[in-house]
């Protein structure tokens, strides 16, 4: 089965990113394919490399990066939501005249069309949110 996963909330405040991560991991371990993981609304905040969470708890950002690397996942951060919330890669940063960028490894910034395409191309679209 081919999945697109939509994540609407950022790290720690809501459980959505955790649930999505554990679901995605289980799906991959069961032999399913993840077409795309799409981060929308505050979900884009899962993609900042500037978090320093306490060491005795899970590191939500780096474990997404690690999962992406292990399974060659396509993790997309919505450009419009990212611009609103200050998540940017080097290109976006330069384009918008900002003095820094913060996108974590394994994530890429793209448009909402990627979510719709995910819905069209996948067998299942699962939304994790608040």
């Amino acid at each position: 089965m081919k999945y697109t996963i939509q994540i609407n909330e950022g790290p720690y405040t809501h459980q959505a990113s955790d649930s999505a991560y554990l679901f995605t991991k289980a799906a991959l371990e069961s032999g399913h394919e993840i077409f795309r993981v799409f981060f929308y609304h505050d979900g884009v905040n899962n993609a900042t490399r500037l978090t320093t969470p306490p060491q005795d708890d899970r590191n939500i950002v780096t474990r997404w990066s690690a999962l992406a690397e292990k399974h060659d996942l396509d993790m997309v951060v919505c450009v419009a939501a990212a611009q609103r919330r200050g998540i940017a890669d080097a290109d976006e940063s330069r384009r918008n005249g900002k003095d820094a960028d913060n996108l974590a490894p394994g994530f890429r910034i793209s448009g909402l069309g990627q979510l719709i395409e995910g819905g069209i191309q996948s067998d299942r679209l699962i939304v994790f949110g608040d």
Partner: protein, 99 residues
């Protein structure tokens, strides 16, 4: 269809709404704070038990355990782990998340 509910029934009406539109043979899976819908002796027990006649009701075991309510689950609820969650999404042809 698989209906996923992640809100406590004491906080929001998501569980009630999902049950009201779930077609016969559908499944409702409670996850995150939605697992508080499993509570024996609560004011939602009747609604959930009533739904069991036409729907299969599941709860995500890890979320139940996390919240310390594993010994308070009403009869008739099937606990699943994340592998079971994945299996439910393959058994049903589509998924609606009640946020």
């Amino acid at each position: 269809m698989l209906h996923i509910v992640n809100k406590s029934p004491f906080e929001k009406n998501s569980l009630e709404s999902s049950i009201s539109v779930a077609a016969d043979g559908s499944a409702v899976l409670m996850i995150e704070d939605g697992v508080y819908g499993v509570l024996k002796g609560s004011r939602v027990e009747e609604m959930v038990k009533g739904a069991m006649g036409s729907l299969k009701i599941y709860a995500l075991g890890p979320d139940v355990e996390a919240r310390g309510i594993a010994d308070k689950v009403m009869d008739g609820i099937t606990l699943v782990d994340y592998n079971g969650f994945v299996a439910l999404t393959t058994e049903h042809d589509k998924v609606q998340s009640w946020l």
